[in-house]
């Protein structure tokens, strides 16, 4: 058991940021803390890192009680959303910082920094200042800097939050590969469910300062414990009093046993997808239902805006009644 959080409470004034958090983060895994902004996930990460003190409860890292240890004694690698680069130092100096503080022998520092530069693909940028790097490169530098101290755990706070969509995706894949190479216990905070589903071994969904559910990405997607988890892990829509994912709805132009029926009132094409809105004729559930089909499906079914369609959940679709 690499990180053990027991009964942690934390409030800022009247606002309860964390309420009775109990969490076990297994060693060597990549764990995501997922939730909406202001839900407490970053606070929990900062409590684990020692950057924030919990009001009560304890934090254990690799079997050592770290509750009262200051941040610099916890041997935790921390990566910030906005890089927190040391702007006046070169990339090499940035990465070497933790080792120089620890007064390691020069030769050892040089070798270690060289190895890390290689790992994060920044060897050719070693003598540059952070301001001469792109956002993605800066974040890789920050990661190497955190890894240099050979931390017991690596904590990343919205590590890709400040990057554009394409770089985010690249870095996400890269982080996954890096983790498979380095195997350090890693916890990262994100509000992007796709990021969590794609990268993490375990996802911890946090909302309103409480843990909603802990599980593998498949668990959470297929067996959401609550309406919140279902709706947070992807788009949902309401079909006849049930919450369902828009792509789990079967749509037909021909009359059939259906949960709802009505005309297609909106038609938006996004790349290969077609997002439809169907306004049911049912007076009890008049709110529009979102349906997503691929373009090929839409063509095959002969769908057009304004068509009368019949909707029902696909066989095996995950629904939560509400």
């Amino acid at each position: 058991m690499s990180i053990e959080v027991v009964g942690v409470h934390k409030s800022f004034g009247d606002f309860a940021a964390l309420t009775d958090i109990n969490l076990t983060v297994p060693a060597g895994q990549l764990t995501a803390l997922l939730g909406p902004s202001g839900g407490g996930k970053s606070t929990l990460l900062r409590v684990i890192a020692g950057l924030e003190d919990a009001d009560s409860g304890s934090v254990e890292i690799e079997g050592v009680d770290a509750t009262s240890l200051p941040a610099q004694k916890r041997n935790v690698g921390f990566v910030f959303q906005h890089y927190a680069a040391f702007k006046h130092m070169t990339v090499r100096k940035n990465i070497a910082f933790g080792l120089e503080i620890r007064k390691r022998p020069k030769a050892e520092i040089t070798a270690k920094v060289e190895e890390l530069l290689e790992l994060v693909h920044l060897t050719q940028f070693a003598e540059r200042k952070p301001s001469q790097l792109s956002g993605g490169q800066r974040q890789r530098m920050a990661l190497a800097r955190a890894l240099a101290i050979e931390p017991s755990v690596l904590l990343l706070d919205e590590p890709f939050g400040a990057l554009d969509a394409k770089v985010r995706k690249e870095l996400r894949d890269w982080l996954r590969r890096l983790h498979d190479e380095v195997h350090v216990t890693t916890v990262f905070v994100t509000h992007d469910q796709e990021e969590a589903l794609e990268v993490a071994d375990t996802i911890v969904v946090i909302n309103d300062g409480r843990i909603e559910q802990v599980g593998t990405p498949d668990d959470l997607y297929d067996k959401p414990a609550s309406e919140f988890v279902l709706s947070f892990l992807g788009p949902v829509t309401r079909l006849g009093g049930q919450l369902i994912r828009p792509h789990d709805i079967e749509i037909s132009r021909y009359e059939q046993a259906a949960t709802a029926t009505g005309p297609i009132t909106r038609w938006t094409r996004v790349g290969f997808e077609v997002r439809l809105e169907v306004t049911p004729d049912d007076v009890l559930h008049p709110e529009p239902v979102q349906v997503v089909v691929t373009r090929a499906e839409a063509t095959a079914l002969g769908l057009h805006p304004g068509d009368q369609v019949w909707l029902r959940p696909q066989v095996g679709a995950q629904t939560v009644s509400s």
Binding site: A49, A71, N75, Y83, K87, A146
Partner: protein
Amino acid sequence: MASRTRQRTGPAGLTARLVVVVYLFLLVAWPVSVVVQRAFDPVGQPGGVGALWERLSAPDAVYAFYLTLTVAFWAVVVNTIFGVGISLLLVRQRFRGRRALSVLVDLPMSVSPVVVGLALVLTYSTGLGWFGSILSETGVRIIGSTPGLIMATAFVSLPLVIREVVPVLEEVGTDAEVAARSLGANARQTFWRITLPTIKWAVVYGVVLSAARAIGEYGAVRIVSRGAEFNGETATLLIQNEYQAFDEAAAYAAAFVLVMAALLALVVVTVVRPQEGSES
């Protein structure tokens, strides 16, 4: 493309420019240039570089400049240490009375230096001072000696370092410092390796401004100093005394040096500013 975004100059713009140029000329350029001209070519006395140098190397002038430099040096040292400390306190700590402290720090800028001098005399002189008796018993003289000059000068130039450093500290935030702590640095290491290099140029800028202010200080120094030849007479006091003693040539010569010091400070500041921009 840049020229297209620039405003076209109409008659109003031209008038405004003319007013500014005339104003600056009448108020600054002309009087200062007269001082420089008189320094080299005083009325009724030998002129030229040689004569100027002779006046500046007169023993009383040498003493005055040496005293001014000593006072300015220590005032700047004190202000730099306390200025950086107070800035860190104001920006990085949250405590009761922080806003009051922030206002208090600006006080020396708004209070007349003469009042500062009087206040120091009332507090620290052996005769009048609050703890004057202790001072006279221990034989420590503050008013009428160099420590008093340093205190007065440090007082009036206190805000200059702080007002440069505070905005920079606020802008850079705490991310890098927190990162350093998480990498194992203690408070001292974080300050020397992260915070200080970050605010370096702001400190340099503040130091230059403080030094310029300290060298030119007159009002507060006038009150706390005995102001006699070889006895607490700083460069500014020397100018005043010589001027009143009808030795205008010596007064202009010393004034010329102060003008040069100010210009040097301006040049340094102009050189420093862009570098600060490229760092961030």
